[in-house]
Symmetry: C2
Subunit: 234 residues, 2 copies
């Protein structure tokens, strides 16, 4: 039930912490710090906040260099597929990061060592901790060792294709606006209705989609908008 | 009508480019590259994409260090207020960045040198260019000179308080989900209707708001959700 020895983890990631406190913090889930509050007052949430931004720059810099021929729209789409819980939790699973985490007994009993949200957050915190312990370029070297393999196999990772989420991140990054979904209308009898929605921002419609539910119609509208954005002349 | 000499800009920002091509690219708006395509095929959109991620990490690292006592929710809110068009375009105005941009004649005639979206994007591209020309820490030094003053005076910058946008970025960063607004109901006669909406994600309601329009009700729901998030125990 105990977490594994973190010395082993450092060998796995190929990085030796100068200040072990950062590593310990990165491995501490809030369930543990809540349970044992008297002795351990910190958890990994702020390092996760920092690590998220570190991984964002690492990924952006990497795809900027590697995919020179792609438009900014294509890069933004790719980026939001990489910087995601499916990818980060998959990396954590590969290195068995869950086995090294400090979790409450309740979390351990309910499968916390394999929960994707906990694993994805812990990878972000781990990279944040390396960044704090060393510098951007060292964190980049460590992170890319794990990221490269995932970037080349994105389509094999479950859950990386949620079009609404990807669209939102792309639009937010490029236009600083939120995409808005508007129901255009419905067709057919009540038990077999077809919904039609559009997605727009800046008063311009970028995609239209139909489906058997509002959700499905919105997903298809988002997909069309992403295709349109990828083709936009740069 | 011509852009100003970029040597002057380098003196203003206190950074001398080793490779002037990066600076030229950062200063080239797509309207210019579209107009004069034969001679100039590049524009600043990809450097803006890169610079956005550089500024994201610079800001995150800075507020992580400076506001040790704040919760992760408070930091996320602060971050999304700083990394915004109002702040970046305000910095660009201070250094008159618009005067150094390559714009099409049409853009110049319609006031492009003072357009906030163009200015905000150009500041991101400029920081991306410095990052490419040197390294993260040099870009950080230059950017912080301009950011610090804005961070201390956020409330004086017009447009930094859009609660729906801030909430979306906070929720996206923390939960990897989109906040969803649901109309609960309306009250009163048609000419004087009051709308009530809630905002939720992960099947949990985080805020409720009322208003004289759906939009106003959603804004108030977002505001309440942000307050709740800031207080969440870490």
């Amino acid at each position: 039930m105990m977490q594994k020895d973190s010395e082993e983890l450092m060998r796995k990631i190929g990085y030796e912490f100068k200040n072990k406190k950062y590593l310990e913090k990165a491995l501490t889930h809030r369930s543990y710090s809540n349970e044992i509050e008297k002795t351990k007052r910190y958890n990994n949430e702020k390092l996760e906040f920092l690590g998220d931004a570190v991984l964002n720059l690492i990924t952006t810099e990497y795809i900027y260099e590697r995919y020179e021929g792609k438009t900014e729209g294509e890069l933004a789409k790719l980026k939001s597929q990489i910087i995601s819980e499916p990818v980060f939790s998959s990396i954590s699973s590969d290195m068995e990061l869950g086995e090294y985490l400090y979790l409450s007994n309740g979390e351990i009993m309910s499968g916390g060592r394999h929960r994707k949200s906990i694993l994805g957050d812990a990878f972000e915190a781990l990279i944040g901790a390396i960044f704090k312990d060393s510098d951007y370029y060292t964190a980049k070297e460590v992170a890319l060792k794990f990221l490269l393999n995932k970037i080349d196999n994105l389509e094999e990772i479950e859950g990386t294709g949620d079009h609404k989420t990807i669209l939102q991140e792309v639009v937010q990054g490029k236009y600083k606006k939120m995409p808005e979904y508007v129901l255009i209308g419905t067709k057919g009898p009540d038990h077999d209705k077809i919904f039609e929605t559009c997605v727009k921002w800046n008063d311009e419609v970028f995609g239209v989609g139909v489906g058997k539910s509002k959700k499905e119609a919105e997903k298809n509208a988002a997909k069309q908008a992403l295709e349109k954005l990828s083709k936009l002349k740069k």
